[in-house]
């Protein structure tokens, strides 16, 4: 079975005025379809950097990255953008919902970008808002939602185009413990429905839900726990 | 070898020549040469533009005629070239002019049928002992010589004077421009204030009073407004050179079209600074009146 993501010798260095900073050092990583992986580690160890590389949001300074067998380095930006739209879903710590759109419109946006028809978009959006338990808040704007509700809308948005891989960067970072549990439950459902998940988190509850737990330290990936 | 004799036929044709009556003491030319020995042609000064247009050099002999058909032409020696006094009323006209001694011009233009034409001039310029008494002198002249028009060279107080009207026009344009830019300034200030909503909320939570925050906003607005106003003045000073050079080249004149004076710079600063401060205050005012909870809440 082709791994959904395979990285070999991934290194990412950031040039800084005070000297280059190596966020990732020679990281090799492989993920099967429908796997659920949690990555933990201290702040600044490179977790988010690795996530960005996996999601084709950033490019490694050296090393190779294959996404569903395709060498990401050989792809154009529009191809990488297409992968992000159709094969990857992102969930952010700060939600990043568009404040001028309501929940329904936020979830609908990636589908419109992909060119889905109106009827298909409506059906899918309704389905997703039901899925995350916010069908009755569809016409509420982010300013009218709680933190947990906003994150659920963000998850629904990330799942809009049925991605193969869901990447979550500290999804419970701005939420309380109970709300974090709810998000963790949601991720369990998403995983059970066949979507691969990589979650970067400080939350031990969330980390325990994953089937693989990787620890990062100073840009290097440790052994599975 | 003397300078080649050039003949200019009928400088009066096409209205190319405006003969300006002056006495020799008012010559402001560059180089003036004495007549070479044995040559008795009267002297003429040509404007720089005419010299170039007629392809004539200093020292050349030219023929000057007041009649359109060139009859009754008189030979003159070009003894110098001068830069015409810039005249804003004639800035787009080609300054093809010549200056003759008064007796020569009067002899050139007199009409045999009109004895009075030998003693006719267009204007007489006066330099007064008491410059503040222009009106009194004008009235006295009008009494002695009825029908004479007397005008002071001081800027006119007549609201319908050409330049007074143009001044009003420019002010109107300036007011419109400032109004438009004020709208944009307010828009930017509103955006800026909204951007800092969280910070203001946090400060208020910490106990910093609205007055202190207002003072900070005021101070910041003042610094930005002063810097912006000074930058604007510098930009105007820098661009006035470019504008003047362009239009002086375009119209072949030495007229100064734009001049940023100290008074104008002060006016601009005096206008811009309060406007900038007021815009910042106005934009921040609504934020400062909101409750702390609404500032830090989503």
């Amino acid at each position: 079975m082709t791994p959904i993501v395979e990285g070999r010798g991934l290194t990412r260095t950031f040039p800084m005025p005070s000297g280059a900073v190596t966020a990732l050092r020679d990281v090799s990583f492989q993920m099967a379809p429908a796997e659920y992986i949690a990555i933990t580690g201290p702040s600044g160890c490179g977790k988010s950097t690795l996530l960005h590389l996996l999601g084709c949001v950033d490019a490694p300074t050296s090393g190779s990255l294959l996404f569903e067998g395709r060498d990401v380095a050989r792809l154009s930006e529009s191809d990488r953008s297409r992968i992000r739209l159709t094969r990857v879903g992102f969930v952010f710590q700060r939600f990043f919902l568009l404040p001028m759109l309501d929940a329904w419109e936020n979830v609908e946006l990636p589908q419109a970008e992909m060119g889905a028809g109106l009827a298909a978009r409506r059906a899918r959006t309704r389905e997703l808002l039901d899925y995350v338990g916010l069908a009755d808040r569809a016409r509420h704007r982010p300013s009218q939602l709680s933190g947990g509700e906003m994150q659920r809308v963000a998850i629904a948005r990330a799942l809009a185009n049925r991605p193969a891989l869901l990447l979550a960067d500290e999804p419970t970072g701005e939420l309380d413990e109970d709300t974090g549990e709810q998000i963790a439950d949601l991720f369990d459902r998403v995983h059970a429905d066949g979507t691969a998940i990589v979650v970067v988190t400080h939350n031990p509850v969330l980390a325990r839900r994953a089937k693989r737990h990787l620890v990062m330290k100073r840009g290097a990936l440790g052994a599975d726990r | 070898m003397g300078p080649a004799a050039r003949t200019i036929i009928s400088l009066g044709v096409g209205g190319l020549v405006t003969a300006v009556i002056i006495g020799s003491t008012l010559v402001t030319s560059s180089v003036a040469q004495d007549n070479p020995p044995g040559v008795s042609a009267p002297q003429v000064l040509l404007s720089r533009q005419l010299l170039r247009e007629a392809d004539v050099r200093v020292g050349d002999l030219v023929t000057v005629a007041a009649d359109a058909d060139g009859s009754r032409g008189v030979s003159f020696r070009v003894v110098g070239v001068y830069e015409p006094t810039p005249d804003p009323r004639k800035f787009s006209a080609q300054r093809l002019e010549a200056r003759l001694h008064l007796p020569d011009l009067m002899a050139l233009t007199e009409e045999a049928a009109d004895p009075a034409s030998a003693d006719a001039v267009s204007a007489i310029n006066l330099a007064l002992v008491d410059r503040g008494n222009a009106d009194g002198v004008g009235a006295a002249i009008a009494r002695r010589v009825p029908g004479t028009r007397v005008a002071s060279t001081e800027p006119s107080a007549d609201p319908n004077d050409l330049f007074v009207v143009l001044d009003r026009f420019h002010w109107a344009i300036a007011i419109v421009t400032v109004t438009g830019s004020t709208a944009f300034l307010l828009a930017l200030m509103v955006m800026r204030a909204e951007q800092r909503r969280d910070i203001i909320g946090i400060l208020r939570l910490m106990g910093v009073s609205s007055r202190s925050i207002l003072f900070e906003v005021l101070l910041e607005g003042l610094l930005i407004a002063v810097a912006g106003a000074l930058f604007g003045v510098l930009l105007a000073v820098a661009s006035q050179g470019a504008i003047n050079r362009f239009f002086q080249w375009r119209f072949d004149t030495t007229l100064v079209f734009v001049r940023v004076t100290a008074a104008i710079a002060w006016k601009a600063v005096a206008f811009a600074v309060p406007l900038g401060v007021a815009a910042g205050l106005a934009a921040s005012w609504t934020l400062l009146r909101r409750s702390v909870v609404s500032l830090v809440g989503r």
């Binding site: 297409r82 990043f96 | 004077d161």
Partner: protein, 402 residues
Amino acid sequence: MTSRALAWRTAAAEPARAALAIAGVAVIGALLFDMLMLSQGLLVSFREMLDTSGYDVRVVASDVFPARVDLTNASEVAADIARLPEVRQVTIVRTDRAVVLVPGRAPTDVALLNLSPGAERQGWRIVDGADLGALGPQESAAPAVISRQLSRALGLSPGSPLPLRALASGAASALPIVGFTVVGIADFQFENDGPYVLATTFEAFQRARASVSSDTADVILVASRPSIDASATVAAIAGRRRDVHAFSNEQIVERFNENGFAYFRQISFVLSTITLGFAFLLVATLLTVAVNQRLGQVAALRALGVSRRRIASTLVWESALLVGTGGLLSLPLGWILALGLDRILRDMPNIPDALHFFVFEPRLALWHLALLAATGLAAAVYPVWVATRLPIAATLRFETVS
């Protein structure tokens, strides 16, 4: 959701900012529209003023227009020109400067005017009283038809006596006062030297100037036959009379355009350019600040797979909404502003009533909108570049940490 809808929602989410930006564009756009009107307004108005006078050729003594010397033997020249097959009508125009001396009022400068008999209907329109010829031959006072402005300024009405002294330029003497009687008040139809005009008969005109024997005139107006082009008439006159110079209306307009109107052409060009540059800077600044405020959102959308093209088109639509709405509002605003500016400029001396500086032409509105549209597009270039080229990962990181 389309880019246009997204742009609209973005603008509607910040109504104060959007309203202020649109107001700014409207005001600056109004100024731009006015400068476009000014660039050709005087020319268009002048041409219209000449054309509606009913004459298409003007004959003067010199080859510059306006002429500085008088036409001599004007009657003979006019009669000769009238015999040309191309010519339908000829009118001699004589003007001079005079001062009216109404008791109890300050001396008032007026333009003294005389037209060939029969041409009065084209020269002025009586609004009160009667035309020249109303006074019988037994009257000693000369008849005068005066302009409305003069009658208002001096409180004159038909029947009012009007002492007048013509001004003799270049002569160290004063002409005697001549008594006139106002017979009518009129609106003068074509170009005049100021608002105060007094028209009279040839005999009275000569008497005022104490030049009974001279037959000089300022200009001879010629109307071509309907099927004849003005240029043909000009050529015919040039062929018949070498001592005069004929100009068609088009030639006169061209000469004024080169000299007299240069200031307004230049200022309209300069201000149009500055206004466009101003609008560009302001809209670009506004959009750039707006993009900088939303970098996190933009980065998140890019991370979700929204294309650069979509981001770019949304921003272009935002610019189009601001500039387009402001541009449409600027048309009526510009028209109102033009009325005020025109009134200011018409205070200048010697501006005929029929002459306007700001003249609306439909093509100018199209030019105006096209220029604003181009400016809006250009203003969006930098913010689009910022939004589409931002480093997604670094921006996400920064927005999360800050």
